[in-house]
């Protein structure tokens, strides 16, 4: 039954390649989070809007992002849009798909956070002469980010792990892509995927720890 002979040496030699892939993975995760947060703030505000024309599209985005597989969202960005003649490279499609997904989830996190801030905070800011947007930016948003910080960190970890779905649209430069490439050439499947998994784990851990340190610095109240 157990006739598989481990050949770790071959896998070890690929570590530099894997680490290069890890950098791409981290890059996509960070970019998709930065853009996801920006879109999510807009979506969260839009979802509280009384105008149907603002509320409805935002709600569709959030519903689709949260209730369909992330894999489909990335597929749609690559092959789906491709059917209409819009051709996104695997990198852009992956980035777009994960950004779309991040924004959907974060929008709900932020909306919940906004609800947790008493309405009187906005009134107090407005009564000091601040226009609506300024009051939101200076008084509401900082409080929102604090309440939403831990769930946002979770989403970042998700974003990192979701990048591995890029292989399905031909992404071959990120950690999952590189791993798969090496796998089909060497057939050291167990060793190479195990190593890649360890690297994913370490990146995710580092992000969580980094976020915790950042929180300690940022939120002193």
């Amino acid at each position: 039954m157990f006739t598989y002979t481990f050949q770790w040496r071959q896998a070890w030699q690929k570590i530099p390649l894997l680490l290069d892939g890890a950098l791409v993975t981290l890059e996509i995760a960070l970019l998709s989070m930065a853009m996801g947060v920006a879109f999510a703030v807009i979506l969260a505000v839009a979802r509280n809007s009384k105008s149907r024309w603002i509320y409805a599209p935002a709600t569709v985005w959030v519903e689709v992002a949260r209730n369909t597989p992330a894999l489909f969202q990335i597929y749609m960005a690559h092959f789906g849009l491709g059917s209409f003649g819009i051709h996104l490279s695997p990198y852009i499609a992956l980035l777009a798909g994960i950004t779309f997904n991040n924004a959907g989830y974060l929008a709900e996190t932020f909306r919940g956070a906004l609800r947790a801030i008493p309405g009187t905070q906005l009134r107090a800011a407005r009564s000091l002469g601040m226009p609506q947007t300024q009051a939101f930016r200076l008084v509401i948003m900082p409080q929102m980010f604090r309440i939403a910080f831990l769930p946002t960190t979770n989403q970042m970890v998700w974003a990192i792990l979701m990048t591995s779905l890029g292989v399905t649209v031909g992404m071959n430069t990120d950690l999952a892509g590189v791993t798969q490439d090496i796998n089909v050439r060497s057939f050291r499947t167990f060793e190479i995927f195990a190593l890649a998994a360890v690297i994913y784990y370490l990146i995710a851990k580092a992000v969580t720890l980094g976020a915790r340190l950042l929180a300690r610095r940022m939120f002193r109240y």
């Binding site: 107090a124 009564s127 000091l128 002469g129 601040m130 900082p142 604090r146 939120f219 109240y221």
Partner: protein, 241 residues
């Protein structure tokens, strides 16, 4: 001068203000008393345009608050308001709470705004709490900070909305003392309050609100010594007994 003319205001089907008329002169201190739900707090938020009105008009220095053309952000610079729930900004230190609006709304430089803020905070007895976050302050301290925050904008009018109602009894005094200092400085103030001693000793005139109507307004001594309206008499005797 604040001129309130025949103001009606309702929330949905609930009529909160039913034809309020009141003129407050520069330098005057007017206290507004009455049972809860009588519309006194609503009136304050209508004066600085936080709440719209249904009819009538409110003029502040001749500017119609609820006209579409009025720049409310600009108008609010000269009408400070202090709320029952303090509304300290929890993510900012005491000093930052007070400098925020002068810097971002009035465009003051940081040192300029800090000089004003430190002066105001020292005035309300918080000179040693500049770097502290509001979460570490007592209710009374937070409320005094909120007063300093309103005053840092150098308003010409300050509205006080039951500023002592959310405080522990032993903290009420320190906030009322701050208000008294302000009144002595000649600030124009409208104070919605449940503190009868304050209303009697500090204000020039006292108004009594009952079910959305201003039932009575009189110079404070007259008001307390010889209330005219039966509802005022009932209200005052209930408090005294």
């Amino acid at each position: 001068m604040i001129e309130i003319k025949d103001v009606y205001k309702s929330f949905g089907t609930l009529e909160v203000l039913k034809g309020i008329n009141l003129t407050v002169e520069k330098g005057e201190v007017v206290s507004v008393i009455g049972g809860s739900g009588s519309g006194k707090s609503t009136l304050l938020t209508c004066i600085n345009g936080l709440e719209p009105i249904n009819s009538g008009s409110i003029l502040v220095d001749g500017v119609e608050v609820h006209a579409k053309t009025t720049d409310l952000n600009k108008l609010r610079r000269k009408i400070g308001i202090v709320f029952q729930q303090f509304n300290a900004f929890p993510h900012l230190t005491v000093l930052e709470n007070v400098t925020l609006a002068p810097r971002k709304v009035l465009g003051m430089s940081k040192p300029e705004a800090e000089a004003i803020a430190e002066k105001q905070l020292a005035h309300v007895g918080l000179g040693d709490k500049l770097a502290v976050y509001p979460g570490r302050l007592s209710g009374g301290q937070q409320q005094r900070m909120a007063i300093a925050r309103a005053l840092a904008m150098s308003p010409e009018y300050v509205l006080f909305d039951e500023v002592t109602s959310a405080l522990d009894p032993q903290l009420v005094g320190e906030v009322l003392d701050t208000l008294k200092l302000l009144a002595d400085d000649g600030m124009t103030m409208i104070c919605v309050t449940h503190e009868m001693t304050f209303a009697r000793d500090v204000s020039d005139r006292v108004a009594f609100f009952h079910k959305g109507i201003m039932a009575e307004i009189a110079p404070s001594k007259e008001f307390f010594n010889a209330p005219q309206h039966p509802e005022t008499q009932k209200f005052l005797s209930n408090i005294r007994s």
